[in-house]
Amino acid sequence: MTTFATALLGLVVLLQPADGPKQPVLNADNWESVRDAVLPTEAESAWAAIPWRPTLWDAVLEGRAAEKPILLWAMNGHPLACT
């Protein structure tokens, strides 16, 4: 977790009742920290730097032109969206 997440942890602890988690409430002071805790870090985004062609057929056409094999990542749910 990031420094932002650590700071957020402290915030949520303050809101924590004894009987369970309380709904985190966004305000002018914390919403950007929550944003940064949720968004992937640069390291977590490394997969997206790979030049994925968004469809199999895009890669077929390019593979023919470049005379290179294709590596297809095919998942239930598009890997570049939600899988």
């Binding site: 977790m1 997440a5 957020l8 942890l9 949520v12 602890v13 809101l15 924590q16 369970g20 988690p21 309380k22 709904q23 985190p24 409430v25 966004l26 305000n27 002018a28 919403w31 950007e32 929550v34 944003r35 805790a37 949720v38 968004l39 992937p40 390291a43 977590e44 490394a46 997969w47 790979i50 994925w52 062609r53 968004p54 469809t55 199999l56 057929w57 895009d58 890669a59 077929v60 056409l61 390019e62 593979g63 023919r64 005379e67 290179k68 094999p69 294709i70 590596l71 297809l72 990542w73 095919a74 998942m75 239930n76 749910g77 598009h78 890997p79 570049l80 969206a81 939600c82 899988t83």
Partner: protein
């Protein structure tokens, strides 16, 4: 989606991948679409790791190395970088062993009519948002989670029509002017994108699950044609019904379930009013999620627990990829 974290950052995998044209695609569509694109996939997928399988499902998801002519080279479905690297090496050996004339192929290119892809529904002039979802710290001294799902996150694309982009901007671009976002837009964003996908895909909420969805836009700055708005609101979703929560294990024995999300929205957006375009967009959602669904891996962690969803404007040039629940957009 674990491969995003465990496989693709691996240096050996990245090096081996340079010899390939990398592609990502949705497997159910490839398995079922008519025309040459689907036929091409099915031709090699049946030679792969799940070839012929029907139980516990007929999915063919995984990684496939193939020639542009459709010759199968190697495949695997693994989140282990070393195993994937081994598959890539085997694929390259098989590629080198093939006569050059058999590698490329001459299948005809699908015409636009052949390619009935969901991405074709992306509206001209619309906007692509990324919707990232991650568990938030639970406040009990522990991390958000432990084990293989520690710090897990997922993302989807959320699409906006041009008129929906404009709906975020109050009619009078003056500081203090406000507007409430259209109910239909908020309900769609909530139902399709405030779902618990941290550990895996899940189905969208039905419309009747939206107990509250309100978002107000307030102009906070105006500089020429550049207008900045603050976004604030709240949302509550709750669904009850019968569905399985243990993947395939209880698929034939669904039980009464409840799932939901209660949270607040906060964010900021910048518009160019002359071009009627978004310059930046961030909408943060934080709240409590509860419940589990068949494939979202929450049977052992139903909450309630804090979760965040962040919508951001995708970088210019981002290729539209269909949101997981595009059919619920009804476009």
């Amino acid at each position: 989606m674990r491969a995003r974290r465990s496989v693709w950052p691996d240096a050996e995998v990245r090096k081996l991948l340079e010899a390939f044209i990398p592609a990502a695609d949705e497997v159910w569509g490839l398995q079922h679409m008519k025309g040459p694109e689907g036929e091409f996939f099915r031709g090699f997928a049946e030679k792969g790791h799940y070839g012929g399988r029907t139980e516990p499902s007929d999915t063919r998801q995984g990684l496939y190395a193939v020639t542009p002519s459709g010759e199968f080279l190697a495949s695997i479905n693994s989140n282990d970088a070393k195993a994937v690297a081994g598959m890539l090496r085997r694929a390259l050996e098989a590629w080198k062993a093939l006569p050059a004339r058999t590698r490329i192929g001459q299948e005809r290119e699908p015409s636009p009519a052949d390619r009935l892809r969901m991405e074709a529904r992306f509206p001209v002039g619309g906007a692509i948002l990324f919707a990232h979802t991650r568990d938030l710290p639970r406040g009990n001294g522990a991390a958000t989670d432990d084990g293989p799902w520690a710090n897990a996150w997922n993302r989807d694309q959320a699409w906006l029509r041009p008129e929906e982009v404009k709906a975020f901007l109050p009619g009078k671009p003056e500081v203090g002017a406000t507007c409430d976002l259209p109910s239909a837009l908020l309900r769609r964003l909530a139902r399709c994108h405030l779902v618990d996908i941290v550990r895996g895909q899940t189905f969208p909420y039905p419309d009747r699950s939206v107990e509250e969805a309100k978002l107000t836009s307030t102009v906070i700055a105006v500089e020429g044609t550049r207008v900045t708005v603050r976004l604030e609101g709240k949302v509550t979703l709750r669904q009850t019904g019968r569905w399985p929560i243990h993947g395939f294990r209880d698929a034939d024995a669904p039980k009464e379930q409840e799932r939901g999300f209660t949270g607040t929205w906060r964010g900021r957006a910048e518009f160019d009013t002359k071009e009627a375009t978004l310059l930046s967009f961030t909408l943060v959602t934080a709240g409590l999620r509860h419940g589990a669904t068949q494939y979202n891996g929450r049977a052992d962690d139903p909450g309630p627990a804090p979760q965040g969803v962040v919508f951001t404007l995708a970088p210019e040039g981002t290729t539209p990829v269909a949101p997981a629940a595009l059919w619920e957009y009804r476009w």
